[in-house]
């Protein structure tokens, strides 16, 4: 009974099992539900850290289950997979605490937490997938698990937002299915191999490979909110704050970006896709999305919609990093996967706090919030500065590597895009900070809840602070061996550019 073959499966099951049990729990069993949630999260964290330690030593973790006679489901824990799994596990633990606090006293929480753990199972599955078919399976499971969360409130707007979400993601899923079958037809295998498995395909198939690349990237682009396919993200903000925090800042959007990284590096191989000539259009689309997302965010008065458009623009950094096809740019793109997750989830937590404690949803209502809720706004400031790329917080490292990587790959125009996007980020984040800290507080808040001496409930206040500190630490302590940057370097030289 070699343990190494079953750990990836245990990691996936460790959130699936509590989820299924929670579905069965009646509404009032709050205590049991919290225990189940937290134990699931802690177990997963322990397993993941064991695997990280193992992979660091060079062990090999893989679970293989036969699906079709010559095609089987594979869960493999490579450095890239663990990178994303670690992110989603930590943030799941934090978001569960936040969700428990946020949904205090709201109806049908068993259903919410059930689907919540299903979502995390799907995200972990997406990360650990060893071949394209398993990736597709968990990718579609992610769509199915997130739909009920978006429609959780049960209002008509929620239903319509759910419909638009589905229209995009189901369409994206169909594209990926077509691409995968066609690829399977051409190559006969779908296993993720470090530098792509398409190099031996004879050239007369190259036009077909180009179309497959477009199909796969379009399908993944839906979830990664690339320009034409990002429409669903701002509308999905109707979901409760923990949903928009974990899902639309970390799980769903990152699954798309992670998928793009997987396809470009492990299916096509970055050199092969570069001389196939498909990476430059992807770079242009990603660049355009960065600018477009920031521009749209500039004029959104609703706070969560502004954050949503900022997510649209920030996630395209990863796509840009991948599309530049240089080793340093890869590190930048991959490390932004974690940094953006940490920073964005802090911002969404704070937005949720403001909505929950003071009933503020609009940016114009945020005058003087810094005085009423100093700690939340401090976390928000750290997140916002990170997004702008101000040095102490994590954002600037990924921008640094992206910039240097772009120059090293000879694509100087990327530097202008990065500069423009930083300016636009300042333009839509600094006014918020200015009005929050320095404008006088209004006489009364829309609907204010008092939580005794501290500004808001512990469960709501702790998570943003934790993630803000993590973002700060990821920025300052990048030299440490297990920091996101070092791990991104391991990924780059182990997976993508081995000589």
């Amino acid at each position: 009974m070699n343990w190494h073959t079953w750990i990836p499966l245990f990691v996936v099951v460790s959130s699936l099992l509590p989820g299924l049990i929670i579905f069965g729990l009646p509404e009032e069993r709050v205590g049991l539900r919290t225990i189940l949630n937290l134990t699931g999260a802690v177990i997963k964290l322990l397993l993941v850290s064991w695997m990280i330690w193992g992979v660091y030593q060079g062990d090999h973790f893989e679970t293989r289950v036969a699906l079709l006679p010559d095609l089987d489901l594979v869960l493999r824990a490579g450095p890239l997979a663990l990178f994303f799994v670690a992110l989603s596990t930590i943030l799941w633990l934090v978001t569960t605490i936040y969700a428990i606090g946020y949904l205090e006293g709201s109806p049908n929480r068993s259903r919410f937490f059930g689907f919540f753990s299903l979502c995390v199972t799907a995200t972990v599955g997406v990360a650990l997938a060893g071949n394209l078919i398993t990736f597709l399976l968990f990718y579609e499971l992610l769509t199915l698990a997130t739909y009920p969360l978006i429609v959780h409130r049960g209002t008509d707007t929620a239903r319509r937002a759910g419909q638009t979400y589905l229209r995009y993601t189901i369409f994206g899923g169909a594209l990926i299915l077509l691409g995968t079958v066609w690829l399977y037809q051409l190559t006969g295998t779908l296993e993720f191999t470090p530098r792509g498995f398409l190099t031996h395909i004879d050239p007369q198939h190259y036009p077909a490979l180009k179309i497959i690349f477009v199909l796969l990237i379009a399908g993944l682009g839906v979830k990664a909110a690339l320009f034409p396919l990002h429409g669903w993200l701002p509308q999905a903000m109707v979901a409760p704050a923990p949903v928009s925090a974990l899902l639309h800042a970390v799980a769903v959007v990152k699954a798309g970006a992670f998928g793009i990284v997987r396809v470009v590096y492990d299916v096509f191989g970055v050199e092969f896709s570069a001389d196939l000539g498909v990476t430059t259009p992807l770079a242009w689309i990603a660049a355009f999305t960065i600018i477009y997302g920031s521009l749209r965010a500039l004029f959104q008065d609703d706070l969560k919609r502004r954050l949503a458009f900022s997510t649209v623009s920030q996630v395209s950094y990863i796509a840009l990093g991948v599309a530049i096809a240089g080793p340093i740019a890869t590190i930048g793109g991959v490390v932004h996967l974690v940094h953006q997750g940490l920073m964005k989830i802090t911002l969404f937590f704070c937005a949720g706090n403001l909505a929950e404690t003071l009933g503020i949803h609009k940016v114009s209502e945020m005058n003087g919030v810094g005085r009423r809720m100093p700690w939340t706004m401090a976390a928000f400031t750290v997140g916002a500065l990170g997004m702008i790329g101000a040095p102490p917080v994590a954002g600037f490292i990924s921008k640094w590597y992206l910039g240097v990587g772009a120059l090293e790959a000879g694509q100087d125009w990327v530097l202008l895009v990065l500069m423009g996007s930083s300016l636009l980020n300042c333009a839509y984040f600094l006014p918020i900070l200015y009005s929050a800290w320095f404008k006088p507080t209004p006489k009364s808040w829309p609907e204010e809840h008092h939580f005794g001496r501290q500004e808001t409930a512990w469960a709501l206040l702790l998570p943003p602070l934790i993630t803000a500190l993590m973002a700060l630490a990821a920025g300052l302590m990048t030299g440490l061996p297990f920091s996101p940057l070092e791990w991104a370097k391991i990924i780059a030289e182990r997976e993508f550019y081995q000589p």
């Binding site: 004029f299 005085r371 100093p374 500065l385 702008i388 790329g389 101000a390 040095p391 102490p392 600037f396 490292i397 921008k399 640094w400 910039g403 240097v404 120059l407 090293e408 530097l415 990065l418 500069m419 930083s422 300016l423 300042c426 600094l430 200015y434 800290w437 320095f438 300052l476 302590m477 990048t478 030299g479 440490l480 920091s483 940057l485």
Partner: protein, 559 residues
């Protein structure tokens, strides 16, 4: 001297710990009491510690704290200035939001010390941003809107200059082997598009020290900043501006006469503009902003000279740094002290004496550097002398104007003495000037007899000139340059808002019409009519017969 580089980290950790102490309610009272003395460890370290390097394992990308001659001098300057700020703050601190101000003050202080100790580029960028944002937090506490606008403009300029600097570092990063200053300087030397990078550097660092064209935020901020924050402001401006030049730009290693010439003429232009602005400026602190521009002009002319003859730099290095710190100290002394004579008529004579000494020190700093260039570059010598003269003229003129104003107010029934106890300010004023004198001593030794004589000659002539022009008052008061910029900014913003509103309305209308015409229900209703026809018996059965026939005919055809 103690050789213990690990002590360097205390300089940074002490203020941060205090900041946390202020925030946490339990230790709040104690922390607020200690806060003003937070700069003490930095001062002691500056005096006692040897030069050294402290590797910070985890921090950023293999970054380390560097403590060398320039670092020491700037650290000392920042420490003194922040000590002054702490004391002033304690004396004048308003009750409102004291806690928030102290936190921002401690953070800004950490940033300033970080700047002088930063060993690598990213650490330096972190320090600049940290100081910039926390200083903005401090300055924006003011109530009146003019201060708010001025400080907002300052923030915009700082942020833009940071981004430009970040891009420059990325351009250098491509060639640099690692992130620290030495590697960056090498990269600067071997790059081919030198003018692009020098332009970025000029823009990035110039924005902070009032380069011509980026100077518009200096005057309003200097005028409106709170008394206690002025030394801090000077410390930030000098560290962010000049340390960047000294550490990042490979002075003495790159020979670039073309840019040198251009820069020299630029310096001259700045001096001329400074004269024009100085004369029109009647506010005593506005004048000091102009002085800062003159200092920058002199700095650029020196840099131009070094670009033309790189070998000058070896000898010039130490004097230049001490001259700059000396000017910084004296400038901050003037920032606090200039309006003091109104408060304590009794101390009038002591005040006048220190003021004269301050003016003398400020002007002697550039002159002391003349000896390096006297045989080499006449243009630089001329600009140094002119710069010194200009400073003297402007300072004297403001002094006389203040005296005239004092007499006028004393005749009109005595100006009510402001209640704040200004003794602390007095002591700090004279203290800063004395420290300035101490830093100037090594330079003064270099002065030849001839230069001293010509200096006094210049002093006398400027005195007379200032006395003559003290009655000339510009017609309308010096309008805040920043106001004009703010209007442009506001109009641009409202125009963009209108345009997007129009876009939104138009796209909504387009969407509605598309939805109505191609909505699925509309299209599908066509199908339901066909469906009903299919449901009739006769149609269905005819189709069935057709299919049967079709199949059999198919078979018969290709038997």
């Amino acid at each position: 001297m103690i050789d213990a580089p690990f002590l360097l980290s205390i300089i940074i950790i002490m203020p941060l710990l205090l900041a946390v102490g202020v925030v946490v309610s339990v230790t709040q009272r104690v922390a607020i009491k200690i806060a003003p003395w937070a700069a003490l460890p930095a001062l002691l370290a500056g005096l006692l510690l040897d030069d050294g390097k402290l590797q910070l394992p985890g921090m950023l990308i293999n970054s380390y704290l560097l403590f060398d001659h320039t670092g020491r001098l700037f650290l000392l300057m920042s420490a003194i200035l922040w000590l002054a700020t702490g004391l002033l703050h304690q004396a004048h601190s308003g009750a409102l939001y004291a806690q928030q101000k102290i936190v921002f003050k401690l953070l800004a202080m950490t940033g300033c010390f970080f700047m002088s100790l930063a060993g690598d580029v990213l650490m330096f960028m972190t320090a600049t941003t940290l100081t910039g944002y926390s200083l903005y937090g401090l300055l924006a506490q003011e109530k009146n809107t003019t201060t708010r606008e001025a400080v907002n403009v300052m923030l915009v300029v700082l942020v833009v200059s940071d981004i430009v600097l970040f891009e420059l570092l990325q351009l250098l990063g491509m060639h640099a082997v690692s992130v620290d200053f030495i590697a960056m300087r090498q990269a600067f030397v071997i790059t081919e598009q030198m003018n692009v990078q020098f332009g970025l550097l000029l823009f990035g660092l110039g924005a902070k020290i009032g380069l011509l064209g980026l100077h518009f935020w200096l005057i309003p901020v200097f005028i409106t900043s709170h008394l206690a924050l002025r030394p801090a402001l000077i410390s930030f401006v000098f560290s962010a501006g000049f340390i960047g030049w000294l550490r990042l730009f490979p002075l003495g290693e790159v020979h670039y006469p073309a840019i040198g010439e251009l820069l020299q003429w630029g310096a001259w232009l700045m001096l001329g503009y400074a004269l024009l602005l100085g004369v029109r400026q009647i506010h005593r602190r506005g004048v000091l902003a102009v002085l800062l521009m003159i200092v920058t002009a002199l700095w650029l002319s020196i840099v131009a000279a070094i670009l033309i003859q790189p070998e000058l730099w070896l000898s010039l290095n130490r004097n230049l740094v001490s001259a700059v710190t000396q000017m910084g100290l004296v400038l901050s002394a003037l920032m606090i002290g200039q309006g003091l004579h109104k408060h304590k008529p009794a101390w009038k004579h002591r005040y006048a004496l220190t003021l004269w000494l301050a003016i003398f020190l400020l002007t002697v700093a550039p002159i002391s550097l003349v000896s390096h260039f006297v045989s080499v570059n006449s243009l630089t010598v001329a600009s140094l002398w002119i710069g010194a003269g200009l400073m003297m003229f402007i300072l004297w003129r403001t002094h006389f104007m203040l005296l005239a104003a004092a007499e006028a107010s004393s005749k009109s029934g005595g100006h009510k003495m402001r209640h704040t106890d200004s003794s602390v300010t007095h002591y700090l004023f004279s203290g800063l000037v004395l420290v300035g004198l101490m830093t100037a001593v090594p330079n003064l030794k270099m002065l030849s007899m001839f230069t001293v004589f010509s200096l006094f000659l210049l002093l006398g002539s400027m005195l007379v000139l200032a006395w003559l022009t003290r009655f000339y008052k510009p017609t309308e008061p010096s309008q805040l340059m920043s106001g004009f910029i703010m209007q442009q900014f506001k109009q641009g913003r409202s125009m963009i808002m209108e345009m997007t509103q129009y876009l939104d309305i138009y796209s909504n209308r387009l969407q509605k019409s598309i939805k109505k015409r191609f909505s699925p229900i509309f299209v599908l209703s066509h199908f339901s009519r066909y469906e009903r026809s299919l449901n009739r018996w006769s149609v269905a059965l005819i189709i069935m017969v057709l299919i049967g026939l079709l199949v059999s005919v198919q078979g018969l055809l290709n038997q």
